[in-house]
Symmetry: C2
Subunit: 167 residues, 2 copies
């Protein structure tokens, strides 16, 4: 498409090569991590991510709106995933005590146990597929790149946090 | 999870920080590029990617099995996407002349035109959200990282290519 006469700042050959490599790598890495979790722990990667985020949150709970903002995922997709996690007994939903509009997702003990059982296989895959392939300097630069790009992405519209959980 | 006594090579704090930043960035970047394409060109990013790959292939056609291998996407997901692209008149399917088992996806003129119309908005978003945020050195290292990780990923099982298209 690069020969069109318009104002578009097309990618040059080197940029195109970097972009194709990056987008292929990140898609394939995501797919392979998903397959490992499905195969060994019977959960998709998106569910694992939700359990991880809740496990680090105060009281292992978080507002649905905050949870959606974290991965840039839509509210409807998140609601669907959380409904499935509720069916599995890994997450429960409850009203936010300070805001009737808010709804909290809470990690259950069973959910924490499922996460703990899945974590060794997942972390081993992340180490083998990413960290073992890179030099310490490349790891450092990957962190810098990721933060620089994240800062430029449109922030998701979030409701204010559920106050009494900010401790 | 890092305090378990087992053989897992857990990520240290610095590695965890890089991993969280990377996985959040790549997920959010993908989502935002998808939203731009849906909003401005009424196609999901996965469809755009298929059109791009076909546009670069000899005769603008590729075996379905090769196409699936390129993004590590499953055959069934790809079949679904190509069926939708067929309905839109952007891709047509035909038998591979040298292999009765093979099936080719071919980009139509309408598909090429749809891609050409969508490309400026997409490339502008890629430049603004990724390249404009990075130094030339970071872009170079991102290419090296992406290739190093790709080389370590499990190759997808592919059928041999459709011979008379290798020109």
């Amino acid at each position: 498409m690069g020969d069109m006469t318009d104002d578009t700042r097309w990618l040059d050959d080197g940029e195109q090569e970097v972009w194709r490599a990056f987008i292929t790598m990140s898609g394939a890495l995501n797919d392979q991590l998903d397959r490992q979790l499905q195969r060994d722990s019977d959960m998709p990667y998106t569910y694992y991510e939700i359990l991880v985020v809740l496990s680090h949150a105060p009281d292992r709970s978080m507002r649905m709106s905050e949870l959606a903002g974290l991965r840039g995922s839509s509210r409807s997709r998140l609601s669907h995933a959380v409904a499935r996690l509720e069916q599995a007994g890994w997450v429960r939903r409850q009203e936010c005590p300070t805001d009737k509009r808010g709804s909290l997702a809470v990690l259950t003990d069973d959910g924490f146990a499922a996460l703990a059982a899945a974590a060794p296989g997942h972390v081993t895959a992340v180490r083998e597929k990413l960290f073992d392939r890179l030099t310490p300097e490349q790891v450092k630069v990957l962190g810098e790149i990721s933060k620089a790009v994240l800062e430029g992405l449109d922030p998701d519209k979030q409701l204010p946090g559920c106050r009494n959980l900010d401790h």
